[in-house]
């Protein structure tokens, strides 16, 4: 069976998203091996469910964390997309939003948090510091982009990103989850280094 359908987000046309090529590339990879009909349909169902209930870890090191709180609050309300349940324990979280600067002292702690999360797990780099070191690129104690220590799925630039950018980045992650193969995990092996620019 071919995975043909495009990852859809309700009310937003496919063309309005940037970087659709990456997703198309992923779909192409999925199709290369071919899929059993039953497993394929089950995959779709599971991905639909998972993409609409991505639970983030309550993790913030600096300014972006305050914007993350604003996104959680009433005005921007990430509950509309199924992200509202922020977990305080990494063992219950699906996605870690690395919001804020990661320093040398924090890096092993973050790595440990990531390792404590159960598979399938995702990483979003939020803000200039997590993307590349941002304003602290010259600092002696700042990791130059969180992708040095974790495989990042989506990058959200900004200092700090606007709440709308947060939502857009989260939607990009949802789209990515929607074209994933749950049984077999093709995309998982690809999770090294930079993949997608939100």
């Amino acid at each position: 069976m071919e995975v043909t359908k495009k990852p859809k987000i309700k009310s937003i046309p496919y063309e309005e998203f940037k970087d659709n090529e990456t997703l198309e590339q992923l779909v192409k990879q999925l199709n290369e091996g071919g899929t059993n009909v039953v497993v394929g349909v089950l995959d779709d169902l599971i991905d639909w469910g998972r993409s609409n209930s991505l639970w983030p870890l309550t993790f913030a090191t600096s300014c972006c964390g305050i914007e993350f709180m604003a996104v959680c609050a009433a005005r921007y309300d990430i509950a509309r997309f199924g992200f509202e349940i922020t977990r305080n324990s990494p063992r219950q979280a699906d996605v870690i939003l690395v919001s804020g600067t990661i320093t040398h002292k924090m890096a092993p702690v973050l790595r440990r948090l990531y390792e404590q999360m159960a598979d399938p797990k995702y990483v979003i780099a939020v803000g200039g510091c997590a993307v590349s070191g941002g304003p602290f690129r010259k600092s002696y104690h700042v990791v130059q982009g969180v992708d040095e220590i974790l495989p990042v799925d989506v990058y959200i630039p900004g200092c700090p990103p606007r709440p709308e950018a947060f939502l857009y980045g989260m939607m990009q992650l949802q789209r990515k989850v929607k074209v994933e193969k749950f049984f077999g995990g093709v995309n998982k092996t690809k999770k090294e280094g930079k993949e997608e620019q939100a």
Binding site: I66, R75, H104, F136, H141
Partner: protein
């Protein structure tokens, strides 16, 4: 604000400091800054400071007299100075910071460990001859927690000897809280020793968000350094930047126009309201009142909209510049601020209805974490925390700047010193901030919003200290210039460092659950502690 400066040799430091504390009643240590003045050169005058040293800023809370003390040691191999933390408790963490950055050992200090950097960090990054990147690659091994610390003592022959001290005994029950914990407000780590449910001792670990901003400043031009102040304490972004702008303007001898002063004052107060509302929202969230959290954020968005319209930023605002502000007020500004004032007044009442009177909130906040006035001064815990303990420490009243001398507002002071007083101070301060804005909003004078500046800004040689009242205390900037286009040393007096220093003494004997209420009402921001 260039006050009297004393140069004291390291051998006489202790006696002289004791005299300042006891005879001249200099009971408040405003700031403690480590310095690397370099090695002696031939054309040095007697006034030139050389070697590794410390700058102390002292103030007397009874007479209001201020003094600046400088001391240094020429020994770069084993630099050591006497510790003053038995005179001012607030010196304990800053001295550890100086040891961390400059390698100066403070003799007699009870706990000479690194404060921010990892225990296995090589070298002292703030020394001018140190290259921290070369010797310190990113280490992904987990940091080991060491339970011992050292006390250094100077022997009669000038050498140092050290004795080991245990932080926690072997049979103590120590639990770890943080750095990833929702109630520590960022990446702060506590190690708490418990007896049953009661806290016996707390050891604070900082540095999980230490970005070396002060070191970076030494290679940035003055306009560039401004950008980093917003990222220190992001809930007092406006005030921090205001402080640095004021410091540079003072050094250059620039007087900003009346319009700029009033705009800055209004913006500072908007930011303060924003911060206090967020304090309310987070405290309620930490204590389980999710509705109050949503209420707080609902009102905060109104302020962010106003800030965004004029400044372009929601959280990191980048508004003040050297000699002015970035952009003129938006045509809607006055109208929207006027709408905001009655709106907030109504909603603050709602906060009181939903949370202040709540029996659970009252029982958890009243009588817990009592900080005495003496301790608040000794630790230098300024801002709402100090004022809740009966210490009138508001910089806006003590040393009026911008347009604060022409407005009428009340300094909120409570005497209980417990969590509830700290909570009430902040809610009452929102009302005072609204009053300040109300008085200014109709009379914003005309004038230019930016003084003419040279394309490259160079400051004359010298050192300056300016302070503003940020959302959570006295935020100070110590600037030392050698005539270049970037500062020789730029130190920020962190508002949060004294606040985490008091956590240990506040929580002794309290229940472990009270730690959340105490941490929440102290209202520290971790990136501001670690810088």
């Amino acid at each position: 604000m260039n006050q009297e400066t004393l140069h004291i040799a390291s051998a006489e430091l202790l006696a002289k400091m004791k005299q300042l504390k006891e005879v001249e009643k200099m009971d408040y240590l405003r700031s403690l800054t480590g310095m690397d003045w370099g090695t002696p050169e031939e054309n040095d005058t007697q006034e030139t400071m050389r070697g590794l040293g410390v700058v102390y800023h002292l103030e007397s809370t009874s007479t209001g007299k201020r003094i600046c003390v400088k001391t240094s040691t020429l020994d770069r191999e084993h630099p050591h100075l006497p510790s003053v933390c038995h005179l001012w408790k607030g010196a304990e963490l800053p001295e550890r910071e100086v040891y961390d950055f400059f390698g100066i050992i403070f003799t007699g200090h009870p706990d000479m460990r690194r404060l921010f950097l990892r225990e296995d960090w090589v070298g002292f990054p703030f020394r001018k001859d140190n290259n921290p990147e070369a010797e310190n690659p990113l280490r992904m091994t987990n940091e080991e927690t060491i339970d011992t610390t050292y006390i250094y003592k100077e022997e009669a022959n000038g050498t140092l000897s050290r004795t080991e001290r245990k932080l926690f005994e072997d049979d103590e029950y120590v639990i770890n809280i943080g750095p990833q914990h929702p109630a520590t407000h960022g990446v702060l780590r506590f190690r708490a020793s418990l007896v049953g449910e009661e806290i016996n001792k707390i050891d604070v670990h900082c540095g999980y968000i230490h970005r070396g901003i002060e070191k970076m400043n030494e290679s940035l031009t003055y306009p560039q350094t401004l950008a980093l102040t917003d990222r220190l304490d992001y809930l007092s972004a406006m005030q921090s930047r205001h402080a640095l702008c004021m410091c540079i303007e003072q050094a250059m001898g620039v007087e900003v126009s009346d319009r700029v002063k009033v705009i800055r004052t209004i913006m500072d107060e908007l930011q303060r309201i924003d911060s206090h509302i967020l304090f309310f929202a987070c405290l309620c969230q930490d204590m389980g009142a999710t509705t109050a959290f949503l209420y707080g954020f609902r009102d905060r968005e109104k302020i962010l909209d106003i800030l965004e319209e004029t400044c372009g930023g929601r959280l990191i605002i980048n508004y003040n510049t050297i000699g002015g502000v970035q952009a003129d007020l938006h045509p809607n500004f006055v109208k929207r601020v006027k709408e905001l004032i009655p709106y907030l007044r109504k909603n603050i009442q709602e906060y009181h209805d939903i949370f202040t009177g709540n029996i659970i909130a009252q029982q958890r906040l009243k009588g817990t974490g009592v900080l005495s006035r003496e301790d608040a001064i000794a630790f230098g815990a300024t801002g709402g925390t100090g004022r809740a303990s009966g210490w009138a420490c508001d910089v806006r009243k003590r040393l009026p700047y911008a347009a604060y001398d022409r407005v009428d507002f009340k300094e909120i002071v409570y005497t209980e010193g417990d969590c509830f007083a700290r909570y009430m101070v902040r809610l009452d301060e929102i009302e005072q901030s609204l009053r300040i804005i109300e008085q200014l909003i109709d009379n914003i004078p005309e004038g230019s919003i930016q003084e003419k500046m040279k394309p490259i800004i160079r400051l004359p040689e010298g050192s300056w200290y300016t302070a503003v009242e940020s959302s959570r205390g006295e935020f100070g900037v110590y600037l030392e210039s050698r005539g270049d286009k970037s500062p020789y040393r730029l130190h920020y007096r962190s508002t949060g460092l004294p606040l985490v220093a008091v956590v240990d003494s506040l929580t002794r004997g309290a229940k472990i659950a009270d730690l959340i209420a105490i941490g929440g009402t102290l209202d520290y921001i971790v990136p501001d502690i670690d810088r």
